[in-house]
Symmetry: C2
Subunit: 346 residues, 2 copies
């Protein structure tokens, strides 16, 4: 096992598959909350553009490369690099997605999530959950190890809201270097008030927590891991996926379930990634993509805590590592992906 992967991830998957759930939530459009898009309006297009980048190295339906306001490019470039180097197949799964990508993807249906301050997040969580479980069951007979990433702008805030509804006290990460913690807490407090829910009230009704203050990525990821029973399921993400683990525990979903993320999440002191995961009793893994060695400054600053996670970047890096790819190779390929990505003509 290379030293940039912690701890050993064994056994080596035989037919790994990398899924990535793509969703929209209007919670992500609250100004200052998400760095997944240069303007709140563009965040609707970010998940589809991430899918296009990973599938074809072209951005087709978004006018620009998804990037944070500070100029850091989408973590999809790291995921794409890892998948290029390993040849592991990817599949994007739309759940409550408003702007569809122009590449093949699996459609689970559902509407985009609403602004959780204003109304229930999503009324059709159960349908998405069942549809995703159906898909997971199919994939479990084709793959022995399925990674599940996410791309949903604003997802850490809905994750925080769900964690509070389930009774968790700790915080979540941010795509900003400086976590807008106070704003997130305020949004979550408003959402819980609107829903008439106090901390811990929905401990025994996790689907209700999603319906009220969650987002459409959550029932999709949960349904997938439920359907994948018998196969190894690895959630690939930071505190958003830790919240999914917490929901899975509340739903008593069984199976070989773990979580993989980046070193940047592990080092984020504003967030309780380890605390949440440990409380679920599931294993966690993380990879250090070594992006400080990138030749491109907006990529280098990932290592200073910008972006941190997304599009399953940590899990994909881990897959690269266990398949014998070096950190240097991953960084070099990440730079190459970013330099060669085809953008729409202006």
């Amino acid at each position: 096992m290379p030293e940039w992967i912690y701890p050993d991830f064994e056994p080596l998957p035989v037919r790994p598959l990398f899924l990535c759930v793509i969703s929209n939530t209007d919670t992500g459009k609250i100004p200052g909350l998400s760095a997944a898009g240069t303007t709140p309006e563009l965040t609707d297009y970010t998940p589809g553009a991430d899918a296009e980048l990973v599938e074809t190295n072209r951005i087709i339906t978004m006018p620009e490369l998804p990037e944070a306001p500070g100029g850091s490019p989408t973590p999809a470039i790291v995921t794409k690099a890892a998948l290029n180097l390993t040849g592991i197949p990817s599949m994007f799964v739309a759940s409550g997605l408003r702007k569809k990508p122009a590449v093949p993807y699996v459609e689970l249906g559902g509407a985009a999530g609403s602004d959780i301050r204003m109304s229930s997040a999503l009324p059709d969580a159960r349908t998405i959950y069942e549809n995703a479980a159906l898909l997971g069951r199919k994939l479990s007979s084709l793959s022995d190890c399925v990674f599940i990433g996410e791309s949903i702008a604003g997802g850490t805030t809905t994750a925080l809201a769900v964690l509070r509804a389930l009774g968790y006290d700790c915080g979540v990460s941010s795509s900003f270097q400086s976590n807008p913690t106070a704003l997130k807490e305020e949004v979550v407090a408003q959402a819980l008030r609107r829903a008439g829910v106090k901390q811990g009230d929905l401990r025994k009704d996790p689907l209700k927590a999603i319906e009220e203050v969650g987002d459409p990525m959550m029932p999709a990821a949960l349904g997938l891991i439920r359907g994948l029973k018998g196969c190894r399921a690895v959630l690939a993400g930071g505190t958003q996926m830790a919240a999914v683990l917490a929901l899975a525990k509340a739903l008593a979903i069984e199976g070989d379930i773990s979580i993989a993320t980046t070193k940047y999440i592990i080092e984020d002191r504003s967030a309780g990634f380890k605390e949440i995961v440990e409380s679920t009793g599931r294993a966690y893994y993380y990879a250090d993509p070594g992006l400080e060695r990138s030749k491109i400054p907006p990529v280098q600053i990932y290592a200073q805590g910008y972006v941190k996670e997304g599009v399953g970047m940590g899990g994909a890096s881990l897959l690269a590592g266990i398949h014998g790819i070096s950190q240097d190779q991953l960084v070099e390929e990440t730079d190459r992906v970013l330099m060669t990505v085809e953008l729409p003509k202006k």
Copy 2:
């Protein structure tokens, strides 16, 4: 090998996958042309309803069970029975589909095909072809043997048009017992005149033949088999899929490609299934689902040449047979599926 499967299908697939391309074409709405729906308007909903039936045994988005004007139910019931009995995973693939199913499916994009008498069939055949090839490449690392069925009302007429454009002289099958051959030939003649194409003119430009007089199922099936190179690809259908084989030959697509259908197609004297397939040099297989033994008269009459094929019924039956399912079990399960399918409340 059971005696109702011809000839031996070997070796036994290890991780088979059953795909079904679902598409719409306005050519299917020409009165009298297709039996896939009780009225031309309803044919738009048939492919999605077939997906819903196979995935959940429920019809969700169509007001009734898809059936032929004579009352024969959709061949999806046989496919569903075969997949139930074998546990083989299915995945529906939308290409130019107007009415989307309420179950998980893969989206390839593209608009529904137009009435080939009036305008070019589909302008985006190349995009669908490339998207499908991308999907095929992914699936080739998960499965060793992929069956590809279709559900597209009106598809035999567009198949006939494409065959003529490629220079083939023979006929195609029909979902009606009495093939409306004269009407089909008239529609095809009008379409070729409109496109300024004479028989055989597009022998060397198969994608142009699809764009002018084909339908959106064709580039999807072709892209899939191209992407599946290195894996066994079996087209599951009658003369529509034979036309895809002819297109694949013209495109010089390589790989382990064959076709599987029902005995009802093989026995159809109005159509040149064998002739087309033999000219492509590819192997064909067929299964006799034995539906004359059904307890339900509208299913029994399949054996008299109603419906004949669709939703990969022949290929799915073959998969059941090679997995040790008897003809009696398949018929019994087909009846059970039909008797238990959940319909929308009126």
